[in-house]
Protein backbone atom coordinates (compact mmCIF):
# COMPACT_ATOMS: atom_id res chain seq x y z
CA UNK A 1 0.00 0.00 0.00
CA UNK A 2 1.43 3.34 -0.95
CA UNK A 3 0.43 6.97 -1.10
CA UNK A 4 1.02 9.53 -3.82
CA UNK A 5 4.41 11.21 -3.64
CA UNK A 6 2.62 14.58 -3.63
CA UNK A 7 0.35 13.54 -0.76
CA UNK A 8 -1.07 16.51 1.12
CA UNK A 9 -3.88 16.61 3.63
CA UNK A 10 -5.32 18.32 6.69
CA UNK A 11 -6.17 16.22 9.72
CA UNK A 12 -8.46 17.82 12.29
CA UNK A 13 -9.40 16.10 15.55
CA UNK A 14 -9.40 18.42 18.56
CA UNK A 15 -11.64 16.40 20.92
CA UNK A 16 -10.25 15.23 24.27
CA UNK A 17 -11.22 11.66 25.15
CA UNK A 18 -11.82 10.43 28.69
CA UNK A 19 -12.30 6.65 28.83
CA UNK A 20 -13.14 4.25 31.63
CA UNK A 21 -15.87 2.40 33.47
CA UNK A 22 -17.80 4.92 35.60
CA UNK A 23 -15.90 7.80 33.97
CA UNK A 24 -19.19 9.75 33.80
CA UNK A 25 -18.83 10.34 37.52
CA UNK A 26 -16.02 12.72 36.59
CA UNK A 27 -18.38 14.93 34.58
CA UNK A 28 -18.20 17.88 36.95
CA UNK A 29 -14.39 17.85 37.18
CA UNK A 30 -14.05 17.54 33.41
CA UNK A 31 -16.62 20.28 32.84
CA UNK A 32 -14.49 22.65 34.92
CA UNK A 33 -11.45 21.80 32.81
CA UNK A 34 -13.36 23.18 29.84
CA UNK A 35 -14.15 26.39 31.71
CA UNK A 36 -17.82 25.53 32.22
CA UNK A 37 -19.63 26.64 35.36
CA UNK A 38 -23.25 25.62 34.69
CA UNK A 39 -24.17 22.78 32.38
CA UNK A 40 -27.37 22.05 30.56
CA UNK A 41 -27.77 18.30 30.06
CA UNK A 42 -29.35 17.32 26.74
CA UNK A 43 -30.89 13.88 26.42
CA UNK A 44 -34.03 11.98 25.41
CA UNK A 45 -36.89 10.37 27.36
CA UNK A 46 -35.55 6.83 26.79
CA UNK A 47 -32.19 7.71 28.32
CA UNK A 48 -33.92 9.29 31.31
CA UNK A 49 -36.08 6.19 31.74
CA UNK A 50 -33.00 3.95 31.58
CA UNK A 51 -31.47 5.98 34.41
CA UNK A 52 -28.37 6.84 32.39
CA UNK A 53 -28.47 10.54 33.27
CA UNK A 54 -28.47 10.02 37.03
CA UNK A 55 -24.71 9.64 37.51
CA UNK A 56 -24.11 12.71 35.35
CA UNK A 57 -26.52 14.99 37.21
CA UNK A 58 -25.30 13.63 40.55
CA UNK A 59 -21.74 14.51 39.58
CA UNK A 60 -22.76 18.01 38.48
CA UNK A 61 -24.79 18.71 41.63
CA UNK A 62 -25.78 22.38 41.86
CA UNK A 63 -23.82 23.12 38.68
CA UNK A 64 -26.48 21.36 36.64
CA UNK A 65 -28.50 24.17 35.06
CA UNK A 66 -31.27 21.76 34.00
CA UNK A 67 -32.06 18.72 31.90
CA UNK A 68 -33.51 19.22 28.41
CA UNK A 69 -34.97 15.86 27.46
CA UNK A 70 -37.38 16.70 24.64
CA UNK A 71 -35.20 15.23 21.88
CA UNK A 72 -37.03 12.86 19.50
CA UNK A 73 -35.44 10.05 17.46
CA UNK A 74 -34.85 12.39 14.50
CA UNK A 75 -34.16 15.83 15.85
CA UNK A 76 -35.43 19.00 14.22
CA UNK A 77 -34.80 22.72 13.93
CA UNK A 78 -37.60 23.48 16.39
CA UNK A 79 -36.08 21.09 18.96
CA UNK A 80 -32.70 22.82 18.71
CA UNK A 81 -34.29 26.25 19.00
CA UNK A 82 -36.26 25.16 22.09
CA UNK A 83 -33.17 23.57 23.63
CA UNK A 84 -31.10 26.71 23.15
CA UNK A 85 -33.85 28.81 24.68
CA UNK A 86 -33.99 26.43 27.66
CA UNK A 87 -30.22 26.68 28.11
CA UNK A 88 -30.25 30.48 27.94
CA UNK A 89 -33.14 30.78 30.42
CA UNK A 90 -31.25 28.59 32.87
CA UNK A 91 -27.94 30.39 32.55
CA UNK A 92 -25.94 27.48 31.10
CA UNK A 93 -22.46 28.09 29.67
CA UNK A 94 -21.64 24.51 28.64
CA UNK A 95 -23.65 21.70 27.04
CA UNK A 96 -23.40 18.06 28.06
CA UNK A 97 -25.16 15.67 25.71
CA UNK A 98 -26.03 12.19 26.98
CA UNK A 99 -27.40 10.01 24.21
CA UNK A 100 -27.05 8.83 20.62
CA UNK A 101 -26.76 10.69 17.32
CA UNK A 102 -29.97 12.68 17.55
CA UNK A 103 -29.16 13.98 21.03
CA UNK A 104 -25.57 14.85 20.11
CA UNK A 105 -26.65 16.68 16.95
CA UNK A 106 -29.29 18.61 18.91
CA UNK A 107 -26.59 19.70 21.35
CA UNK A 108 -24.30 20.74 18.48
CA UNK A 109 -27.05 22.98 17.11
CA UNK A 110 -27.72 24.42 20.56
CA UNK A 111 -24.03 25.31 21.02
CA UNK A 112 -24.19 27.48 17.90
CA UNK A 113 -27.35 29.29 18.96
CA UNK A 114 -26.06 29.82 22.52
CA UNK A 115 -23.02 31.63 21.08
CA UNK A 116 -24.35 33.30 17.97
CA UNK A 117 -28.04 33.87 18.86
CA UNK A 118 -30.87 33.64 16.36
CA UNK A 119 -32.43 30.40 15.19
CA UNK A 120 -30.97 27.47 13.31
CA UNK A 121 -32.48 28.67 10.02
CA UNK A 122 -30.00 31.58 10.15
CA UNK A 123 -27.17 29.07 9.60
CA UNK A 124 -27.64 27.58 6.14
CA UNK A 125 -24.24 26.75 4.73
CA UNK A 126 -20.86 25.22 5.40
CA UNK A 127 -18.08 26.48 7.71
CA UNK A 128 -19.86 29.78 8.31
CA UNK A 129 -18.64 30.30 11.87
CA UNK A 130 -15.54 32.33 12.68
CA UNK A 131 -15.06 31.73 16.41
CA UNK A 132 -15.24 28.87 18.93
CA UNK A 133 -18.75 27.97 20.03
CA UNK A 134 -20.20 27.05 23.44
CA UNK A 135 -18.19 24.12 24.87
CA UNK A 136 -19.79 20.73 24.35
CA UNK A 137 -19.04 17.54 26.27
CA UNK A 138 -20.50 14.35 24.78
CA UNK A 139 -21.36 11.22 26.71
CA UNK A 140 -22.45 8.69 24.06
CA UNK A 141 -24.95 5.98 25.01
CA UNK A 142 -24.46 4.10 21.73
CA UNK A 143 -21.22 3.08 20.05
CA UNK A 144 -21.50 3.93 16.39
CA UNK A 145 -22.15 7.48 15.22
CA UNK A 146 -18.70 8.89 15.97
CA UNK A 147 -20.50 12.21 16.26
CA UNK A 148 -18.65 12.89 19.51
CA UNK A 149 -15.53 13.80 17.49
CA UNK A 150 -16.89 15.18 14.19
CA UNK A 151 -17.70 18.66 12.92
CA UNK A 152 -21.04 17.68 11.38
CA UNK A 153 -24.66 17.54 12.54
CA UNK A 154 -27.83 16.63 10.66
CA UNK A 155 -31.02 18.37 11.72
CA UNK A 156 -34.44 18.02 10.10
CA UNK A 157 -36.24 21.16 9.01
CA UNK A 158 -39.82 19.94 8.87
CA UNK A 159 -41.06 23.27 7.49
CA UNK A 160 -39.22 22.68 4.22
CA UNK A 161 -39.13 18.88 4.49
CA UNK A 162 -35.33 18.71 4.22
CA UNK A 163 -32.44 17.81 6.48
CA UNK A 164 -30.01 20.61 7.23
CA UNK A 165 -26.35 19.66 7.31
CA UNK A 166 -24.17 21.69 9.65
CA UNK A 167 -20.43 21.35 9.02
CA UNK A 168 -18.42 23.61 11.32
CA UNK A 169 -14.86 23.16 12.55
CA UNK A 170 -15.54 25.72 15.28
CA UNK A 171 -18.29 23.48 16.69
CA UNK A 172 -16.54 20.14 17.21
CA UNK A 173 -17.22 18.78 20.72
CA UNK A 174 -14.39 19.66 23.11
CA UNK A 175 -14.55 16.40 25.03
CA UNK A 176 -16.13 12.95 24.95
CA UNK A 177 -16.47 10.71 27.96
CA UNK A 178 -16.58 7.07 26.87
CA UNK A 179 -17.96 4.99 29.71
CA UNK A 180 -18.71 1.33 28.87
CA UNK A 181 -21.48 1.33 31.48
CA UNK A 182 -23.43 3.74 29.28
CA UNK A 183 -23.83 1.13 26.53
CA UNK A 184 -24.25 -1.92 28.75
CA UNK A 185 -28.04 -2.09 28.42
CA UNK A 186 -28.19 -1.63 24.62
CA UNK A 187 -30.23 -4.52 23.18
CA UNK A 188 -28.53 -6.83 20.63
CA UNK A 189 -30.23 -5.40 17.51
CA UNK A 190 -29.32 -1.84 18.44
CA UNK A 191 -25.81 -2.95 19.33
CA UNK A 192 -25.48 -4.63 15.93
CA UNK A 193 -26.94 -1.67 14.00
CA UNK A 194 -24.86 0.99 15.71
CA UNK A 195 -21.79 -1.26 15.53
CA UNK A 196 -22.23 -1.64 11.78
CA UNK A 197 -22.55 2.14 11.56
CA UNK A 198 -19.06 2.34 13.07
CA UNK A 199 -17.78 -0.45 10.82
CA UNK A 200 -19.14 1.40 7.78
CA UNK A 201 -17.49 4.64 8.89
CA UNK A 202 -14.18 2.79 9.11
CA UNK A 203 -14.44 1.00 5.75
CA UNK A 204 -15.66 4.13 3.96
CA UNK A 205 -12.82 6.15 5.49
CA UNK A 206 -10.40 3.65 3.93
CA UNK A 207 -11.97 3.65 0.46
CA UNK A 208 -12.89 7.33 0.10
CA UNK A 209 -10.82 9.62 -2.11
CA UNK A 210 -9.46 11.88 0.72
CA UNK A 211 -8.11 8.94 2.80
CA UNK A 212 -4.58 9.39 4.10
CA UNK A 213 -2.18 7.60 6.50
CA UNK A 214 -3.63 9.01 9.72
CA UNK A 215 -7.22 8.18 8.84
CA UNK A 216 -6.21 4.77 7.49
CA UNK A 217 -4.46 3.97 10.77
CA UNK A 218 -7.49 4.95 12.82
CA UNK A 219 -9.95 3.18 10.54
CA UNK A 220 -8.02 -0.06 10.27
CA UNK A 221 -7.59 -0.39 14.02
CA UNK A 222 -11.29 0.40 14.45
CA UNK A 223 -12.04 -2.48 12.06
CA UNK A 224 -9.78 -4.82 14.09
CA UNK A 225 -11.55 -3.91 17.32
CA UNK A 226 -15.05 -4.11 15.88
CA UNK A 227 -14.41 -7.43 14.16
CA UNK A 228 -13.16 -8.92 17.40
CA UNK A 229 -15.34 -7.29 20.05
CA UNK A 230 -18.71 -6.48 18.47
CA UNK A 231 -19.79 -10.15 18.40
CA UNK A 232 -18.84 -10.41 22.09
CA UNK A 233 -21.12 -7.46 22.90
CA UNK A 234 -23.98 -9.19 21.07
CA UNK A 235 -23.37 -12.46 22.96
CA UNK A 236 -23.11 -10.78 26.33
CA UNK A 237 -24.11 -7.16 26.64
CA UNK A 238 -22.65 -6.95 30.12
CA UNK A 239 -19.11 -7.66 28.89
CA UNK A 240 -17.84 -4.20 29.74
CA UNK A 241 -14.39 -4.88 28.33
CA UNK A 242 -15.90 -5.65 24.91
CA UNK A 243 -18.31 -2.72 25.21
CA UNK A 244 -15.39 -0.40 25.90
CA UNK A 245 -13.35 -1.64 22.96
CA UNK A 246 -16.32 -1.09 20.64
CA UNK A 247 -16.80 2.43 22.01
CA UNK A 248 -13.15 3.20 21.34
CA UNK A 249 -13.47 1.75 17.84
CA UNK A 250 -16.52 3.89 17.11
CA UNK A 251 -14.66 7.02 18.18
CA UNK A 252 -11.59 6.10 16.12
CA UNK A 253 -13.84 5.48 13.12
CA UNK A 254 -15.43 8.90 13.82
CA UNK A 255 -12.06 10.61 13.57
CA UNK A 256 -11.27 8.62 10.44
CA UNK A 257 -14.44 9.44 8.52
CA UNK A 258 -14.58 12.97 9.92
CA UNK A 259 -11.43 13.63 7.89
CA UNK A 260 -11.49 11.06 5.08
CA UNK A 261 -15.26 11.39 4.61
CA UNK A 262 -17.82 8.74 3.68
CA UNK A 263 -19.04 7.58 0.27
CA UNK A 264 -21.76 5.66 -1.49
CA UNK A 265 -22.88 3.56 1.49
CA UNK A 266 -23.77 6.68 3.43
CA UNK A 267 -25.32 8.43 0.44
CA UNK A 268 -27.65 5.45 0.03
CA UNK A 269 -28.29 5.00 3.77
CA UNK A 270 -29.18 8.67 4.21
CA UNK A 271 -31.56 8.40 1.26
CA UNK A 272 -33.35 5.20 2.30
CA UNK A 273 -33.55 6.66 5.80
CA UNK A 274 -35.27 9.76 4.46
CA UNK A 275 -37.67 7.82 2.23
CA UNK A 276 -38.51 4.77 4.37
CA UNK A 277 -37.20 5.65 7.85
CA UNK A 278 -34.74 2.74 7.95
CA UNK A 279 -32.44 3.28 10.97
CA UNK A 280 -29.15 4.69 9.72
CA UNK A 281 -26.82 2.05 11.16
CA UNK A 282 -28.94 -0.82 9.87
CA UNK A 283 -29.14 0.70 6.39
CA UNK A 284 -25.34 1.00 6.40
CA UNK A 285 -24.93 -2.59 7.56
CA UNK A 286 -27.23 -3.97 4.88
CA UNK A 287 -25.55 -1.99 2.11
CA UNK A 288 -21.87 -2.22 3.06
CA UNK A 289 -20.89 -5.57 1.45
CA UNK A 290 -22.53 -4.86 -1.92
CA UNK A 291 -21.21 -1.31 -2.00
CA UNK A 292 -17.71 -2.73 -1.41
CA UNK A 293 -18.37 -5.08 -4.32
CA UNK A 294 -19.45 -2.07 -6.41
CA UNK A 295 -16.25 -0.16 -5.53
CA UNK A 296 -13.92 -3.16 -5.77
CA UNK A 297 -11.93 -2.18 -8.86
CA UNK A 298 -11.33 1.34 -7.53
CA UNK A 299 -10.53 0.35 -3.95
CA UNK A 300 -8.51 -2.86 -4.19
CA UNK A 301 -5.60 -1.52 -2.11
CA UNK A 302 -7.88 -0.30 0.64
CA UNK A 303 -9.95 -3.46 0.85
CA UNK A 304 -6.78 -5.57 0.93
CA UNK A 305 -5.82 -3.62 4.06
CA UNK A 306 -9.32 -4.21 5.43
CA UNK A 307 -8.78 -7.95 4.85
CA UNK A 308 -5.55 -7.79 6.86
CA UNK A 309 -7.32 -5.94 9.66
CA UNK A 310 -10.03 -8.60 9.71
CA UNK A 311 -7.43 -11.35 9.63
CA UNK A 312 -8.81 -12.95 6.47
CA UNK A 313 -5.89 -12.32 4.11
CA UNK A 314 -4.29 -15.67 3.57
CA UNK A 315 -0.76 -16.41 2.40
CA UNK A 316 -0.44 -16.22 -1.37
CA UNK A 317 -3.45 -13.96 -1.92
CA UNK A 318 -2.85 -10.98 -4.20
CA UNK A 319 -4.56 -7.67 -3.37
CA UNK A 320 -7.65 -8.47 -5.43
CA UNK A 321 -8.10 -11.87 -3.78
CA UNK A 322 -7.64 -10.24 -0.38
CA UNK A 323 -10.17 -7.51 -1.22
CA UNK A 324 -12.69 -10.17 -2.24
CA UNK A 325 -12.00 -12.03 1.00
CA UNK A 326 -12.75 -8.83 2.95
CA UNK A 327 -16.09 -8.44 1.19
CA UNK A 328 -17.05 -12.05 1.88
CA UNK A 329 -15.97 -11.78 5.50
CA UNK A 330 -17.96 -8.57 5.94
CA UNK A 331 -21.09 -10.28 4.61
CA UNK A 332 -20.54 -13.20 6.98
CA UNK A 333 -19.85 -10.83 9.87
CA UNK A 334 -23.25 -9.14 9.52
CA UNK A 335 -24.92 -12.58 9.68
CA UNK A 336 -22.86 -13.59 12.70
CA UNK A 337 -23.99 -10.55 14.71
CA UNK A 338 -27.65 -11.05 13.76
CA UNK A 339 -27.83 -7.93 11.64
CA UNK A 340 -30.79 -7.61 9.21
CA UNK A 341 -29.82 -8.71 5.69
CA UNK A 342 -32.55 -7.21 3.47
CA UNK A 343 -34.53 -3.97 3.36
CA UNK A 344 -37.78 -5.91 2.95
CA UNK A 345 -37.28 -6.97 6.59
CA UNK A 346 -37.64 -3.27 7.41
CA UNK A 347 -40.84 -2.82 5.37
CA UNK A 348 -39.12 -1.12 2.42
CA UNK A 349 -40.88 -1.32 -0.99
CA UNK A 350 -39.71 -1.24 -4.59
CA UNK A 351 -41.03 2.31 -4.93
CA UNK A 352 -39.04 3.36 -1.89
CA UNK A 353 -35.74 2.18 -3.34
CA UNK A 354 -36.44 3.93 -6.65
CA UNK A 355 -36.94 7.23 -4.84
CA UNK A 356 -33.92 6.60 -2.62
CA UNK A 357 -31.71 5.78 -5.61
CA UNK A 358 -32.56 9.12 -7.20
CA UNK A 359 -32.00 10.98 -3.93
CA UNK A 360 -28.61 9.33 -3.38
CA UNK A 361 -27.07 11.26 -6.26
CA UNK A 362 -27.62 14.58 -4.46
CA UNK A 363 -26.19 13.43 -1.15
CA UNK A 364 -22.92 15.13 -0.23
CA UNK A 365 -21.22 11.81 0.50
CA UNK A 366 -21.40 10.55 -3.07
CA UNK A 367 -18.65 12.90 -4.30
CA UNK A 368 -16.05 11.21 -2.10
CA UNK A 369 -16.71 7.69 -3.35
CA UNK A 370 -13.74 6.06 -5.11
CA UNK A 371 -15.89 4.97 -8.06
CA UNK A 372 -17.59 7.91 -9.71
CA UNK A 373 -21.37 7.53 -9.64
CA UNK A 374 -23.32 9.54 -12.19
CA UNK A 375 -26.36 7.36 -12.90
CA UNK A 376 -29.10 6.49 -10.42
CA UNK A 377 -29.55 3.13 -12.19
CA UNK A 378 -26.22 2.00 -10.72
CA UNK A 379 -27.41 2.88 -7.23
CA UNK A 380 -30.78 1.24 -7.84
CA UNK A 381 -28.99 -1.97 -8.81
CA UNK A 382 -27.34 -2.11 -5.38
CA UNK A 383 -30.63 -1.40 -3.63
CA UNK A 384 -32.37 -4.14 -5.65
CA UNK A 385 -29.79 -6.72 -4.57
CA UNK A 386 -30.62 -5.87 -0.99
CA UNK A 387 -34.41 -5.55 -1.15
Amino acid sequence: MGYDSDLSFNYFGPTKIVFGTNAVREAEIEMSSLGGTRAVVVTDPGIIKAGLVNDVTASLGSRCAGVFSDVPQDTGVEVVNAGAEFARENGADIVISVGGGSVIDTAKGMCILMTEGGTLRDFNGVQLLSRPQTPHMVIPTTAGTGSEVTNAAVIMDREIGQKRLLVENFNVPRMAILDPKMTEKLPPLLTAGTGMDAMTHAVEAVHCIPHEPLTDGLALHAIRLLYRYLPLCIENGSDLHARGQVQIAATMAGWAFGNAMVGIVHAMAHSIGAVAHVPHGIANGILLPDCMEFNLEDAVDGYAMVAEAMGVREKGMDDTDAARAAIGAMREFTRKIGHPQKFSEMGVSGQDIEKAAELSLSDGSIVNNPRIVMDSAEVLGIFQKNL
Binding site: N124, G125, Q127, G364
Partner: protein, 141 residues
Protein backbone atom coordinates in the same frame (compact mmCIF):
# COMPACT_ATOMS: atom_id res chain seq x y z
CA UNK B 1 -1.80 38.84 -22.96
CA UNK B 2 -2.81 37.93 -19.41
CA UNK B 3 -5.63 39.85 -17.80
CA UNK B 4 -5.44 41.17 -14.25
CA UNK B 5 -7.37 38.78 -12.00
CA UNK B 6 -10.61 39.83 -10.33
CA UNK B 7 -11.09 42.94 -12.48
CA UNK B 8 -14.14 43.64 -14.66
CA UNK B 9 -12.09 42.86 -17.77
CA UNK B 10 -11.21 39.49 -16.26
CA UNK B 11 -14.86 38.81 -15.38
CA UNK B 12 -15.84 39.63 -18.97
CA UNK B 13 -13.19 37.23 -20.27
CA UNK B 14 -14.36 34.52 -17.90
CA UNK B 15 -17.98 34.97 -18.99
CA UNK B 16 -16.94 34.82 -22.64
CA UNK B 17 -14.96 31.64 -22.00
CA UNK B 18 -17.98 29.99 -20.38
CA UNK B 19 -20.23 31.05 -23.25
CA UNK B 20 -17.71 29.71 -25.77
CA UNK B 21 -17.40 26.31 -24.11
CA UNK B 22 -19.24 23.73 -26.22
CA UNK B 23 -20.14 21.50 -23.27
CA UNK B 24 -21.13 24.07 -20.67
CA UNK B 25 -24.72 24.66 -21.77
CA UNK B 26 -25.60 20.98 -21.53
CA UNK B 27 -23.81 20.33 -18.26
CA UNK B 28 -25.30 23.39 -16.56
CA UNK B 29 -28.86 22.95 -17.82
CA UNK B 30 -30.21 22.31 -14.30
CA UNK B 31 -28.33 25.05 -12.47
CA UNK B 32 -30.28 28.12 -11.46
CA UNK B 33 -29.04 30.91 -9.27
CA UNK B 34 -26.31 33.40 -8.72
CA UNK B 35 -22.97 32.78 -7.05
CA UNK B 36 -20.76 35.31 -5.31
CA UNK B 37 -17.11 34.83 -4.56
CA UNK B 38 -15.75 36.88 -1.70
CA UNK B 39 -11.97 37.19 -1.71
CA UNK B 40 -10.56 38.02 1.72
CA UNK B 41 -7.78 40.60 1.68
CA UNK B 42 -4.16 39.50 1.93
CA UNK B 43 -1.98 42.64 1.75
CA UNK B 44 1.18 40.52 1.64
CA UNK B 45 -0.04 39.11 -1.67
CA UNK B 46 -1.06 42.48 -3.08
CA UNK B 47 -4.75 42.11 -2.22
CA UNK B 48 -5.22 45.00 0.25
CA UNK B 49 -9.03 45.02 0.34
CA UNK B 50 -11.81 42.44 0.04
CA UNK B 51 -12.99 41.77 -3.51
CA UNK B 52 -16.57 40.83 -4.35
CA UNK B 53 -17.43 39.00 -7.58
CA UNK B 54 -21.02 38.30 -8.63
CA UNK B 55 -21.92 35.74 -11.30
CA UNK B 56 -25.38 34.90 -12.51
CA UNK B 57 -25.91 31.40 -13.90
CA UNK B 58 -29.27 30.26 -15.24
CA UNK B 59 -29.98 26.90 -16.90
CA UNK B 60 -26.89 26.91 -19.09
CA UNK B 61 -26.97 30.64 -19.76
CA UNK B 62 -24.91 33.29 -18.03
CA UNK B 63 -26.10 36.77 -17.01
CA UNK B 64 -24.32 39.44 -14.96
CA UNK B 65 -20.64 38.77 -14.29
CA UNK B 66 -19.50 41.78 -12.30
CA UNK B 67 -17.07 43.04 -9.74
CA UNK B 68 -19.48 44.40 -7.15
CA UNK B 69 -19.95 45.69 -3.63
CA UNK B 70 -20.67 43.65 -0.51
CA UNK B 71 -24.43 44.22 -0.65
CA UNK B 72 -24.69 42.84 -4.19
CA UNK B 73 -22.47 39.89 -3.28
CA UNK B 74 -24.63 39.10 -0.25
CA UNK B 75 -27.72 39.01 -2.47
CA UNK B 76 -26.50 35.91 -4.33
CA UNK B 77 -28.09 32.49 -3.82
CA UNK B 78 -24.67 31.06 -2.93
CA UNK B 79 -21.95 33.11 -1.27
CA UNK B 80 -18.52 31.50 -1.12
CA UNK B 81 -15.78 33.15 0.92
CA UNK B 82 -12.09 32.41 1.16
CA UNK B 83 -8.62 33.88 1.37
CA UNK B 84 -7.07 35.06 -1.88
CA UNK B 85 -4.45 32.29 -1.82
CA UNK B 86 -7.17 29.64 -1.53
CA UNK B 87 -9.07 30.99 -4.54
CA UNK B 88 -5.89 30.97 -6.58
CA UNK B 89 -5.37 27.32 -5.61
CA UNK B 90 -8.92 26.53 -6.73
CA UNK B 91 -8.34 28.28 -10.06
CA UNK B 92 -5.20 26.21 -10.63
CA UNK B 93 -7.05 23.05 -9.50
CA UNK B 94 -4.51 22.58 -6.71
CA UNK B 95 -7.44 22.61 -4.30
CA UNK B 96 -10.72 20.78 -4.80
CA UNK B 97 -13.57 23.19 -4.02
CA UNK B 98 -15.77 20.59 -2.29
CA UNK B 99 -12.90 19.34 -0.14
CA UNK B 100 -11.97 22.92 0.68
CA UNK B 101 -15.49 23.57 1.96
CA UNK B 102 -15.50 20.51 4.17
CA UNK B 103 -12.04 21.35 5.55
CA UNK B 104 -12.99 24.94 6.30
CA UNK B 105 -10.60 26.45 3.76
CA UNK B 106 -13.59 28.02 2.03
CA UNK B 107 -16.94 28.96 3.55
CA UNK B 108 -20.29 28.77 1.80
CA UNK B 109 -23.69 30.22 2.56
CA UNK B 110 -26.32 28.25 0.67
CA UNK B 111 -27.71 24.79 0.09
CA UNK B 112 -24.84 22.24 0.00
CA UNK B 113 -26.97 19.33 -1.34
CA UNK B 114 -27.92 21.52 -4.33
CA UNK B 115 -24.25 22.15 -5.07
CA UNK B 116 -23.46 18.44 -4.77
CA UNK B 117 -26.34 17.54 -7.07
CA UNK B 118 -24.81 19.89 -9.63
CA UNK B 119 -21.17 19.12 -8.96
CA UNK B 120 -20.44 18.63 -12.68
CA UNK B 121 -21.46 22.24 -13.29
CA UNK B 122 -19.21 23.45 -10.48
CA UNK B 123 -16.27 21.44 -11.80
CA UNK B 124 -16.89 22.71 -15.33
CA UNK B 125 -16.81 26.40 -14.40
CA UNK B 126 -13.61 25.81 -12.42
CA UNK B 127 -12.09 24.06 -15.44
CA UNK B 128 -12.97 27.03 -17.60
CA UNK B 129 -11.60 29.49 -15.03
CA UNK B 130 -8.24 27.76 -15.31
CA UNK B 131 -8.21 28.48 -19.04
CA UNK B 132 -8.50 32.27 -18.65
CA UNK B 133 -5.04 33.73 -19.14
CA UNK B 134 -4.64 35.49 -15.82
CA UNK B 135 -2.20 37.80 -14.12
CA UNK B 136 -2.64 37.25 -10.39
CA UNK B 137 -1.85 40.06 -7.93
CA UNK B 138 1.14 38.18 -6.54
CA UNK B 139 2.48 36.96 -9.88
CA UNK B 140 5.84 38.30 -10.94
CA UNK B 141 5.07 38.44 -14.63
Amino acid sequence: MPIKAMTQEWMDAYKAAIQADPEYKGIAKDWEGSVSLVVNPEPARNVPDPIYLFMDYWHGDVGDFVVCDKAKADSAKFVMTGDYARWKQVAYKELDATKALLQGKLKMRGDLPYVVRNIKTVNKVIDILGRVDTLWPDDNK
